[in-house]
Subunit: 228 residues, 2 copies
């Protein structure tokens, strides 16, 4: 069973104050680039893995999706999602993605935002996703970048000589558990290299069509200097 950090009260109370929870998709810096990858949603059957408050599920329906199955492990997230949703074609469901089994040929779009880096058994999930996609169906997903999940001490360091900030990268090739402090201690993530992520997709009959590594543009850096 996966760690269910989102149902810990202290974590949850902090998490819901993030811009991406308060403002929804518009508060997520990477949303414009994810959105640009989406197909025309008209009439599509959509699966959302790690749906959180359901922001994407509602977006998909508002933009023409026929139905959305939205899955999360956190009761608190699902309760909030249901309270924000008035749409019988969005089905919220509690499930552990480590153990999810999917029927064949069900979905035109599988979407997952910042969820896969929590999963130990990602290859099995991707196998299920691949099977569940219809011909010409797509998986569109975001993860924390391997450069971000890798370090033993994941916080910026200032070079005393030049004043430049750098990211103290170590352990890149050492895949597996990273226990980090994010609102609370001991949030568990799985570090994988970029090559491993990509080969998990390729090994499960998926074809890579785009890869974007999010970074702030100049305008975003002016508004949010701390993203630099």
């Amino acid at each position: 069973m996966s760690q269910n950090i989102y149902d810990q009260q202290e974590f949850f109370e902090n998490y819901i104050q993030l811009d991406r929870q308060v403002r929804g998709l518009a508060g997520a810096p990477e949303w414009p680039q994810l959105k640009a990858m989406l197909p025309n949603l008209d009439g599509l059957s959509v699966l959302d893995l790690g749906c959180g408050f359901g922001w994407f599920a509602r977006f998909a329906r508002e933009n023409g999706a026929a139905c959305v199955r939205a899955i999360d492990l956190s009761e608190k997230m699902l309760d909030k999602a249901r309270s924000l949703t008035d749409d019988e074609n969005i089905e919220y469901e509690r499930a552990d993605l480590e153990e999810l089994r999917l029927a064949e040929n069900q979905y035109d779009l599988v979407f997952s935002s910042l969820t896969f880096h929590y999963l130990v058994n990602l290859p099995t999930l991707i196998k299920e996703v691949s099977k569940s996609l219809r011909p010409s169906g797509r998986l569109i997903c975001s993860i924390e970048h391997p450069i971000y999940t890798s370090p033993s001490k994941p916080s910026f360091v200032v070079d005393e000589e030049t004043g430049r900030q750098f990211w103290p990268l170590d352990g890149y090739q050492s895949e597996g558990l990273r226990s980090t402090n994010w609102f609370v201690e001991g949030v568990k993530k799985q570090h994988r290299t970029m090559g491993t992520y990509i080969n998990i997709l390729l090994d499960n009959s998926l074809q890579l069509t785009d890869l974007v590594e999010w970074g702030p543009n100049e305008e975003e850096l002016k508004i949010h200097p701390s993203w630099g």
Copy 2:
């Protein structure tokens, strides 16, 4: 015109002492993984971009390739390659890869080892490569990893508290020229993100089938502790 660092006497004299030049492919740590990606070479028409001393060209012929066209910018490298080769089906040729134009449907395998990160105009070269490949032809190439080309100060730093080494990553999203010291000052490389490299391939009708990020295994770390 590309920088021709390999023809500078001081650089060349140091470069030829590298294990990968003295011992050839067996001296290149990444060779086992590149080799594992190769198709059966029997009867193939091969193009080698940045052939250096011709180690791969000779390997390909010894393993059944019908012919190899091997290109490099450096006269010194080509002179040495020719002196090591006695095979009329290997054609060595001096050309600038920034300006290379290729005929359609010529090659079963295009190979390139640690060359693409020197090129400003890589998209044009990949367009030419894609055009020159026969149906089911393959491009197999290695580059310096973007994590390696990115930093403004590319050398390991020791964390005084833990004694761990880390790599001071900065400028990852800032693509373009990196001027580094490698035997001599001012060796020019081009930094690109992983996403940019992959999309250059995808944008030119190539399909990604494998991505390996080389790192030392435990056995290699015992023999070469400095690779850790």
